[in-house]
């Protein structure tokens, strides 16, 4: 196994953890839970980009990771500021689990 194979395998592993947490997006139950899963993808995405950048020997990918990290909070801010202030009633019933 070459070294780059190791990084690719690791990136694959991180991609699989992303796939696992997608289940949380489907299950919810609250919008907050779904948003948090998206937040986790940001983190795993940064990890994947760093590993691929190393394995593919493309330093530009670390810049992509930098942009990911820089803007990782924007969606969550939009969510709490504009979406998740209404609609509690609707969720309340499914939240009982």
């Amino acid at each position: 196994m070459t070294m780059s194979e190791f990084y690719f395998g690791y990136a694959l592993f991180l991609l699989l953890t992303v796939a696992i947490s997608l289940i949380r997006v489907l299950r919810g139950p609250t919008s907050g839970d779904r948003m948090l899963s998206a937040q986790l993808f940001g983190t795993s995405g940064v990890g994947i980009l760093l590993l691929l950048g190393r394995g593919m020997e493309m330093p530009a990918l670390w810049d992509v990771a930098l942009v990911f990290a820089l803007l990782a909070a924007v969606a969550a801010v939009a969510f709490v500021q504009r979406v998740w202030k209404s609609g509690e009633q609707k969720e309340a019933k499914s939240d009982a689990s």
Binding site: F8, A11, L16, V25, V67, A75, V80, Q81
Partner: protein, 316 residues
């Protein structure tokens, strides 16, 4: 043995297809939006795998910083209560559309399948003449020299989009909770870094992946963040300075395009020796113009006429 990288590709493709399907068929619109944001993130991994780092950078900036926030804000304005509506529609009509779509997919798939395996594309021509382009990153060379025409027209499209949004009315004052300390702290920390990274990407674009689009998109996310935190713009900037910034990209590009014409040179054919300087000038202005345009589009309307109730701004 299958290599880890091909397995990665396979999983990525399956996830992309799964997400595309589920985000379009989710009953809950919020769920669809979160899946859409994830889809954008994974798409930029696909660009990375296909060795298109310029595109990946733009997708990362736009997908993470702008599109997600745009859709979330629109969802907030629609009101969540209405988002859960079932999608009615007669079954056989859907079947009809589905079979038409399947037919289309078969055609497209066949077209892609039967493409010659070794297509030269325009790569040879581009790399052969890179020396004349004035820059070292081939994508920047194509965007701002060889096919600068495309970029010029793109700026026209952005300008038209703003005209369209502004003609629909003033941006309404959004109702949102007052930003807490932690949000304000985040904004204070991030805004300078966003400006810095945007400049970094612009500077990189000459030799490495990056450039005006990526820098502009990152800067636009800064405006998005300020608007989301409820930061008021300086009213005096909302008049002609804002309009000047919006028009600057298209206007400057057009002026340069016409000014270099003359003698035997055609529109947008930079005089030898001037390429680098002109490209730098255009890119610098484009970055700002793209950022302001996207910021204004995010605000969703023209700034209110009455002074003191402006909509978005830069330098606080």
């Amino acid at each position: 043995m299958i290599s880890a990288l091909s397995l990665f590709d396979l999983v990525l493709i399956i996830l992309l297809l799964w997400l595309a399907w589920h985000l379009l068929s989710a009953r809950d619109l919020f769920r669809a939006t979160v899946l859409f944001i994830t889809y954008g993130l994974l798409m930029s991994l696909a660009w990375v795998r296909l060795k298109a780092p310029d595109v990946a950078l733009a997708e990362a900036a736009i997908g993470a910083g702008i599109t997600g926030a745009l859709v979330l804000v629109a969802l907030g304005r629609f009101g969540e209560a209405e988002s859960d509506e079932a999608e009615p529609g007669s079954l056989w009509l859907r079947g009809l559309v589905a079979s038409a779509a399947l037919g289309l997919f078969a055609l497209l798939g066949w077209a892609v399948w039967s493409l010659p395996t070794e297509m030269a594309g325009l790569k040879a021509q581009v790399f052969e003449r890179m020396g004349e382009s004035g820059v070292e990153n081939p994508v920047t060379g194509v965007l701002l020299n060889f096919r600068a025409w495309d970029t010029l027209l793109e700026m026209a499209v952005l300008f038209l989009a703003v005209l369209g949004a502004w003609s629909l009315g003033e941006a309404e004052e959004p109702s949102m909770p007052a930003p807490g300390e932690s949000l304000l702290a985040l904004v204070r920390l991030l805004i300078p870094l966003i400006v810095l990274v945007s400049g970094y990407l612009l500077w990189l674009g000459e030799t490495a992946p990056g450039g005006a689009f990526q820098g502009g998109a990152v800067l636009a996310s800064g405006f998005v963040l300020l608007l989301l935190a409820g930061v008021r713009p300086i009213p005096s900037l909302m008049g002609w300075p804002l309009r000047a910034a919006l028009g600057s990209g298209f206007a400057l590009f057009l002026v340069v395009a016409v000014a270099v014409t003359g003698g035997s040179r055609m529109l947008l054919e930079y005089p030898p020796g001037w390429e680098k300087g002109l490209i730098l000038l255009i890119e610098g202005v484009l970055t700002l113009a793209i950022a302001v345009t996207l910021g204004v589009l995010f605000a969703g309307g023209r700034p209110p006429a009455s002074p003191g109730a402006g909509k978005r701004g830069e330098k606080r």
